[in-house]
Structure formats: structure tokens, C-alpha cells
Amino acid sequence: MLQQRNPQLNSHGELIHLLSIEGLPRAVIHHILDTAGTFLSVNDREVKKVPLLRGKSVFNLFFENSTRTRTTFEIAAKRLSADVINLDIARSSAAKGESLLDTIANLSAMHADMFVVRHSESGAPYLIAKHCAPHVHVVNAGDGRHAHPTQALLDMYTIRHYKQDFTKLTVAIVGDIVHSRVARSDIHALTTLGVPEIRAVGPKTLVPGDLKEMGVRVCHDMAEGIRGADVIIMLRLQNERMSGAMLPSAGEFFKNYGLTPEKLALAKPDAIVMHPGPINRGVEIDSAVADGTQSVILPQVTFGIAVRMAVMSTIAGNNA
């Protein structure tokens, strides 16, 4: 097989696209987290804007709908003084049969500097990065089941903020891991940052045994999975799982794998509870826990803007 260079890095090893956490050196991840810290303080100022991306056009290409994620990217880009254009592709040219690459070519002709892409198929951002003009940067806002790198980075920022030392932690990820791009990116980030124990918790249909190839301990028993954890990441359960014969009902899922105060008590007393959102109360997480003192779900959102500002400013400053 011929060796291929990691398309996210230029020939000097600098980040020019953010497509996946896989293949990112530990130093690059820490640099982004440190930069995010700077931007967090910007968000506390009177003037929340800095001119780093002034004159640049950031195009949000969301082939899969998500108002929340798109909004956080828009806020982040605007705080960097970029011009933001939102493209709701689902309703426009792709629906008329325009191919993905034709859409990209048309947008590049409008002098886009950065594409933030969310797509329902794994690998779509790689195709875009391969075919767009050399000066254009691509940020993956979620592709199929494959990756959601900015979510993983903000999750790591959150963990670093509350727990400091990755090398001493036990992290449990609970829920529909096999279909989750957030879980995959979190697992890559946690292993790169040196977390010694990562547990994947859920029923066999959602957490198959071969997940252990990614470096996690597979647990089908919630109590065993949560016991002694420092960090618990709950994932959203999507309705499609019931129709695909993977789960009988949301109720049964909550009974076995929902995070209630009783189950939370099995974790360390200072364990933090995270969730990428939006949360399904009573399906994967009990309201008492989501709103409780150990939940850091809202701070995750705040950190998310700073992390996305860090990602965009880092890649925009590096040339192909």
C-alpha cells in the first residue's frame, strides 16, 4: 500500500484542516486547548471580538441539519471578525441533484476561505478537503458516524478544566457508541492525551465487542461501567435505534443505562457528568442529574465557543 500523508497537516506538520482527532499529535491538541483558554477570557470582555479572521469568509455547509452546532460555529467565527454565510444545503442545490463537489466548486468561486461542514456520510469532509482550492480550510462539524473533532476538543477542555491531569482518570462513555461520531472522537482524544482507563458502556447492539480495538474496555453492565469513574459522558439515544431492531424501547434503555442519582452515586463523589447535547431527559439522563451539581453540561457549551474559535484561528493561520 502506498503511504498517504495525513491530509489535515501541511508538509511542516501544521494543522490546515480539522477533519478528525485521529492522527493529531498530542502537542497540537494541547496547543488548541491552550489557545481556547485565551479565547475564553475574550468572551468575558466588553468587546468580545478580535480581528484575527477579519476579511475572511466562513461558509457553514450543513448537509445535515443542526441549528445548535451551526449557531456555535457562527458565534465563534463572528467573534473572530469573520464574515459568516450559512448554507442550508439540505433544502437547496443538493436536493436539486447537484453533486457535492460541484457545490464546493461553486462556493469556492465565491471566494470562501473556510468551510465548516456537517454531512451524514462518514468521510465527506476528506473528499471536500481533497478537492477544494489550496488556501481553503475545512473544519469537520460532524461526518456520519466517523468524527466530531470540535466536540471532542471541547470535551477535553472541559475535562482539563475540572480534572487537570488526564493520566490519572477513569472515563466512562455511555450509550449508543457504535453510531456515535462524538464517541469515536472522544475515544481518540482520550487515548492520545493518555487517559489510562476508558470504558464503553451499553448493550451489545450499541456497544459491540469489536470496539475494544479502539482501546476501550467494553462494559455491558452500567454499574460496572460507572463504578469509580471520574468523568461520565452520556450520549444521546436516537429514535432510529428502535426501528432498526437494536433496542425495544427508550424506557427499557433508561432502566438499564439511564444515568440516575443512584447510578451516579457509584462513581467518584466528585465525578463530572457531561453530554454533547441535546439531552433526552428520562431517556439517557435523569433531570435530577442533568440539572444537578455534578453536571457540567452548560459549561461545555461555553467552552465550545472558545474551542471553536481556537480551532478556526489555528488553522486559518497555517498555510497549505
Binding site: 457535492l100 468521510g123 465527506a124 473528499l127 461526518d143 466517523h146 459491540p208 469489536d210 480495538e213 479502539m214
Partner: protein, 431 residues
């Protein structure tokens, strides 16, 4: 036209011949092999110094895309690709548009191919009408029109009752049924189940999709007596099941594609759609088992599985890209590469693409059975002259096929076809 081929190294895997010699051709046939009478006066002499003179290759799976998929390939371009690859006979699957379920369509295709005067074309007919898996096709009529077997291409029959009856009917007349062993429901993913598919977030095709289908096929063979050729094995477990079925005495043969002989799932890399194939590329162990199976004869033949795909259909996210790879122009080199890497040698490698595929076709070839895939005096002059020492780099833009991409792009491969003769005339010459 009388042609004399001089100073070549004659290699005929069917007989074990491997020695220097000349070949005399007249009226489309080989009239002398080895030593040629000095009063044979050729119209043309070809100097084959340094070249191997081998039987023309026989490819059991090459899609020509006509009728219906002309944006992906035309008979002219794909036949040109065939002879450029030294292939002089090829079998095409019936999944054209419309599929080959009418004698008229088959006759038209054979007629068009004959007029092009390039490789010989042996079409497979569909097993069921429209490949829909419900109603049987008129197999006798299709055989008369020129079909050498019956196939469901990539559309497995989910209804086991229909499959049993199709096998039963075919076995009445001794027709061979060509089946790709893949369960209709378990086989829906886009990449082989395993660590790579998990990591890349691609839906997986588990090995049981192949083994469950194999078990079903073998059980139905036992009760119907049908002869089956299994198309494109992909897994170690699958090879093992075929080995046991052969040991049991079931009338089964099988093939494997050049893609599965050389590549594994890791070669998908960063979602390279050139690697989007059916069946999907599996893991190292599976490739090792396929290589061992080809060496010990469990796997009978090596095929190109030539499936040219339109550029636009490959420039899509992996799961949406159309599966398939161009292969006719690579078949010889990839066979030789296997021969080199495995130590099996040139003659054994050539056997997998000459006399072995002819054995699979058997009676379906009719009178040609005695000379196809071999060098024999009096036989049809289908020859491939190639330079075994040449090495070349795969450059898809230079393919004669309309499918201008390949999973082997950039690979350096052994063996270069210099001249291809079909029925005694020069169909291809390397300039």
C-alpha cells in the same frame, strides 16, 4: 493472414510446456508450435525475443457496461482494454441495463462483440427475470443464444424457495449457476466489519454474510445436484468452507478477484473511494487465506472483476460512491505479481488466468473448450505475448477503459503485454 512468431519463450500451463520456440499461425489457427517448417512463408513475422508467448488470458468476470451504462463504458473502449491486457476471452455478468434475460439482447451483444473483432465474449444470462429473484428465465433459449451460465450478479435471491427451484431447474439441463455468496440482509454494509470500519464509522459487512450464504448454497446443492460457480470469495472462513465442500465432492468451483488477492481494508486509508468494492476488502488473515487457496487449487480462477465506474460516481463520500474497479488491463500483471510474491512462479500464475478458468467453463465453451486457454496445434490462435521482465507504474489516466481510476494507482507491477492475437489477427500491439 500467415504470421510467424519467432524466438519466444512458449509457456503453456495446461501441459507444463516452458521452452523456447516459434509459433506459426494461418487462417486464424495455430498450425505449428515449437519448431516451424522452413517453407512456412508468413505475411508477417513478429520477433518475440525476451517475451513469453502464452495462451490469451481468459477472464471470468469483466463488465463491459453495454447495454445501458454507456456513460461508464462502451463495448469499444472495454474490449480495447481487454486486448491491451492480453485478455482474449471474457465472461460478462448479466447486470447490464436491461439485464441479459432475453435471447435477443444476448444475440445483439455477441453480434456487436464479434464485429469488433477483439476478444471473444461469453455472456452470462440472468437466473431470474430482471434479476428480481422471482421468476426463472428461459435458460435453454438463453443458452442457445450463447450464454455460458446463469447468474444473479450482485442481487442475491433472498427467497430460499426460489433459489432452490432455480438450482433445481438449472441442474435438469446441466447449466452452471454462478452465485456471489452474500446474504441479502447481512450484506448491506459498505466496508468489511472490523476494526477499520468501526474506526471510520462505516457500516460493516460481517463474514457471516458470506458464510451463511455459502452454507445455504451448499445445502441446496446437496438436494438439487446443481453445479455452482462461486463468484468473488472474500473471507478466510469462506475459503475454508469451499475447501470442505470440494473435499466432500460437491460440484463447486470458485474465483477470486485481483483486488482481494492483493488489497485489504486498511488500504481504504482516508476514505479512498477507489477502494469501494463489493465484496468489501477484508483483513490480512482473509487475504492470506485467499492467497493460500489460489495456490492449493481451492480457488480455481483469478478474475479481474473489471467494473468501470464513472468519475462522478467515485467522487462521492465513501458510502455513496459506486463500488467497482477497472481491472482488465491489470489482470496479467497482478497474476504475475502474485506468482512472484508467493513463490508460485510464472506458469502457476498464468494457469489461474488461462487453463483454470477454461476448466470452470467446461462444456459451455463448446468446441473451443479444447483450445481455449492453452497452446495447441490446430487450436484457435488466441495468444498473449508479454515481457515478463518489464515493470510499469499504473497510471489510470492512460487506461484504455473508460473507468480512469484504480485501487492500484501508482503501484509498480511486473509484466507488460506487447502483442495480443485473437483468432490469428493482431488485436493489440504496444507501440
Amino acid at each position: 493472414m500467415k504470421i510467424l512468431i519467432k524466438n519466444g519463450r512458449l509457456v503453456d500451463p495446461a501441459t507444463g510446456r516452458d521452452e523456447p520456440g516459434d509459433v506459426a499461425i494461418a487462417a486464424g489457427r495455430v498450425v505449428a508450435l515449437g519448431a516451424v517448417n522452413p517453407d512456412f512463408h508468413p505475411n508477417r513475422t513478429i520477433d518475440a525475443s525476451g517475451l513469453v508467448v502464452a495462451p490469451g488470458l481468459v477472464d471470468l468476470a469483466a463488465r463491459l457496461r453495454e447495454p445501458g451504462h454507456e456513460h461508464e463504458g462502451m463495448l469499444e473502449s472495454e474490449m480495447a482494454a481487454a486486448v491491451a491486457g492480453g485478455v482474449t476471452s471474457l465472461v460478462c455478468p448479466p447486470d447490464t441495463d436491461p439485464p441479459l434475460d432475453e435471447p435477443g439482447l444476448v444475440e445483439m451483444l455477441k453480434f456487436r462483440a464479434r464485429n469488433l473483432n477483439q476478444a471473444h465474449l461469453y455472456p452470462l444470462g440472468t437466473l431470474t427475470r430482471g434479476l428480481a429473484g422471482e421468476v426463472l428465465t428461459e435458460m435453454a433459449e438463453l443458452t442457445e443464444a450463447g450464454c455460458v451460465g446463469f447468474s444473479q450478479a450482485e442481487a442475491p435471491i433472498a427467497d430460499t424457495l426460489v433459489l432452490q427451484r432455480a438450482l433445481q431447474y438449472a441442474s435438469t439441463f446441466g447449466y452452471t449457476v454462478w452465485l456471489r455468496p452474500q446474504d441479502a440482509h447481512l450484506g448491506k454494509g459498505v466496508a468489511a466489519s472490523g476494526a477499520l470500519a468501526t474506526r471510520l464509522g462505516l457500516s460493516g459487512v460481517p463474514v457471516v454474510a458470506e458464510t451463511i450464504a455459502l452454507h445455504t448454497i451448499f445445502e441446496l446443492m446437496r438436494v438439487t445436484g446443481a453445479r455452482v460457480h462461486l463468484c468473488r470469495l472474500s473471507s478466510a472462513a469462506g475459503v475454508d468452507l469451499v475447501r470442505r465442500a470440494k473435499a466432500e465432492g460437491l460440484p463447486v468451483t470458485c474465483d477470486v478477484s485481483v483486488n482481494h488477492l492483493h488489497l485489504i481494508d486498511m488500504d481504504i486509508g482516508y476514505f479512498n473511494a477507489a477502494m469501494r468494492l463489493t465484496p468489501p476488502l477484508r483483513q490480512q488473515r482473509d487475504r492470506d487465506a485467499i492467497r493460500a487457496g489460489l495456490a492449493d487449487g481451492t480457488i480455481d480462477a483469478l478474475v479481474s472483476d473489471h467494473t468501470p465506474v464513472d468519475e462522478d460516481a467515485k467522487n462521492l463520500p465513501f458510502a455513496e460512491a459506486e463500488p467497482g474497479a477497472t481491472g482488465l488491463e491489470l489482470l496479467l500483471s497482478l497474476a504475475l505479481k502474485w506468482g512472484e510474491d508467493s513463490g508460485a512462479g510464472l506458469a502457476k500464475a498464468l494457469a489461474t488466468v488461462t487453463c483454470a478458468p477454461v476448466k470452470v467453463l467446461g462444456d459451455a465453451l463448446g468446441s473451443l473448450q479444447s483450445s481455449a486457454g492453452r497452446l495447441v496445434e490446430g487450436g484457435m490462435a488466441d495468444l498473449c505475448l508479454f515481457d515478463p521482465a518489464a515493470r510499469w507504474t499504473v497510471e489510470p489516466r492512460a487506461f484504455r477503459s473508460q473507468g480512469k481510476h484504480s485501487p492500484f494507482a501508482g503501484f509498480e507491477l511486473p509484466g507488460r503485454v506487447r502483442t495480443t492475437l485473437v483468432a490469428g489477427h493482431v488485436a493489440y500491439e504496444d507501440k
